[in-house]
């Protein structure tokens, strides 16, 4: 299968390295970062391109753009892993549409376009007879979408709740364990590389809310939007609140929750028994699905990371290869 890879940040690099190393029968014929591109119908020399990126800051020819590759390149599947823009979804949204219109399958880790334009993109993919897969948008390496689509096929999903932001889980873990203030725990998260310079997106629950919107649209097709989510962050929590919870054998976690029967779409700090399956330390993510036949299923694993996210993308690629692309 031939793929075009757009985006060469941490996720793009992880995907390129794994494709080069694992011999999965996937050939990268086009590759672009934000300022340059490489095209080679016979297959790009990945280690060479990654070395270029490291030494000169861009990967290939400044005269080749992501758009050139998407609109004219020879590939079966577009891998779109540029940074998320939660407001416009661009430039990723335009890239994905252009590929779908050319009847190319699309795999993305980009939350913006999926949260903003799920219905439109889904319809466009159907109309053109191609697949649109986005396992990596929610809970990193955890195969949430595969589980919902395949493993739990035929089940009605009644409700879901989970820990969808590792940064918040880390901060709350440290506040509870060491009695740190929110500011101290955030500083520690920054030092460890778990929090951005501007942590708003994570700590105010926006990132978790976007993932919740993607899940709700995927499962219930209800057209949920980010503005529909009742959202409270963790930035106003006090060490005393965690201690008061601890005295009762409980702790506090940021929980994303959806229940269509109760018209509930909410991200908020909640009190949980310490023995609850959604209480764990560090940056992990987890999701509990309540279904009619299987009852409760809880998935837990790494929610971020270069290779971890590549795992989700490669899972989608191989699914497309096995279900949609005719093998030579």
């Amino acid at each position: 299968m031939k793929v075009a890879l757009i985006g060469l940040g941490s996720v793009g690099r992880g995907v390129a390295e794994m494709i080069a190393r694992k011999g999965l029968g996937i050939t990268i014929t086009g590759l672009a970062d934000s300022t340059s591109g490489v095209i080679d119908p016979a297959g790009i020399n990945i280690p060479g391109v990654l070395a270029n990126k490291k030494t000169q800051g861009y990967c290939g020819d400044r005269n080749i753009s992501a758009e050139d590759i998407i609109k004219t390149g020879d590939y079966d599947t577009l891998i779109e892993v540029t940074p998320t823009n939660a407001l416009s979804g661009e430039p990723a949204l335009g890239y994905i549409k252009a590929a779908l219109l050319r009847k190319k399958h699309v795999v993305t880790s980009n939350k913006g376009p999926i949260a903003l334009a799920y219905k439109e993109l889904r319809a466009l993919a159907r109309k053109n007879g191609v697949a649109l897969r986005y396992e990596a948008t929610v809970a990193g390496a955890i195969p949430v979408m595969h589980t919902i689509e395949n493993g739990l096929a035929g089940n009605e999903i009644l409700a879901l709740y989970g820990v969808l932001n590792g940064t918040c889980n880390f901060i709350l873990t440290r506040m509870a364990a060491e009695g740190l203030t929110y500011e101290q725990a955030l500083m520690e998260a920054r030092k460890m590389g778990y929090a951005e310079a501007d942590p708003t997106y994570d700590v105010q629950g926006i990132d978790a809310a976007i993932k919740l919107v993607i899940l709700a649209n995927t499962i219930w097709g209800n057209g949920a939007k980010l503005s529909d989510v009742d959202r409270t962050g963790i930035d106003l929590l006090t060490p005393d609140a965690l201690r008061l919870a601890d005295e009762e054998g409980c702790t506090i976690r940021l929980i994303a929750e959806a229940n269509p029967h109760r018209h509930l779409l909410r991200v908020s700090p909640r009190i949980l028994d310490k023995n609850h399956p959604l209480v764990f330390d560090g940056t992990l993510n987890a999701l509990t699905l309540e279904t009619d036949m299987a009852k409760e299923i809880t998935l837990i694993g790494k929610g971020a990371g270069s290779i971890e996210t590549a795992s989700a993308i490669i899972g989608d690629l191989l699914y497309i290869r096995d279900h949609h692309v005719k093998r030579p």
């Binding site: 609140a241 008061l244 009190i271």
Partner: protein, 163 residues
């Protein structure tokens, strides 16, 4: 309730039947022979849930069976939930916040733990609520949610079924 009854076969069943007749739900039966009692009596303690207004009817039915009721202890509010409130709790009139729950008649604040780190800093409190039923508890939490919003307090609720 604590009952005294004759120690003869079938007596316990005879006591339990009226409870189910009035729609009660038995939570525990404690049945103990105490050495200092007369030989022909038996002490039984029953913990049960009763629908509103069925108490007098049950007492009547039990008395008909010849059962002597020694004591009825009543715990009116069975459902309990703990929340945490953060913010300027005193400056936003904590007693009013509590009163908004207590004045409902179906729920009340039964425990409050508080920590106030310094003047002008936000304080944190753990509040345990009791209510008549699951629905009443949800209604009480909804009131607390509204009050918290009005007073700019952060309300942390338990995840369903926890705490």
């Amino acid at each position: 309730m604590k009952l005294e009854m004759k120690d003869s076969p079938g007596q316990l069943v005879a006591v339990l039947k009226p409870i189910s007749d009035v729609g009660g739900n038995i939570i525990a039966v404690i049945h103990q022979r105490e050495p200092d009692l007369h030989d022909d009596t038996l002490n039984v303690q029953i913990v049960l849930e009763l629908p509103e207004g069925q108490r007098e009817r049950l007492v009547g039915l039990l008395t008909e069976q010849g059962v002597h009721i020694q004591r009825i202890g009543e715990e009116r509010l069975l459902y309990q939930r703990t929340v945490i409130l953060i913010g300027h709790l005193m400056h936003t009139d904590l007693s009013d916040t509590v009163d908004q729950i207590d004045s409902t008649g179906f729920a009340e604040v039964c425990e409050l733990s508080m920590s106030m780190p310094a003047v002008n800093q936000r304080s944190s409190s753990r509040i345990t609520l009791k209510a008549l039923s699951h629905e009443d508890m949800d209604a009480a939490i909804a009131i607390l949610r509204r009050v918290s919003q009005q007073k700019s307090l952060l309300l942390i609720e338990p995840l369903e079924g926890c705490a």
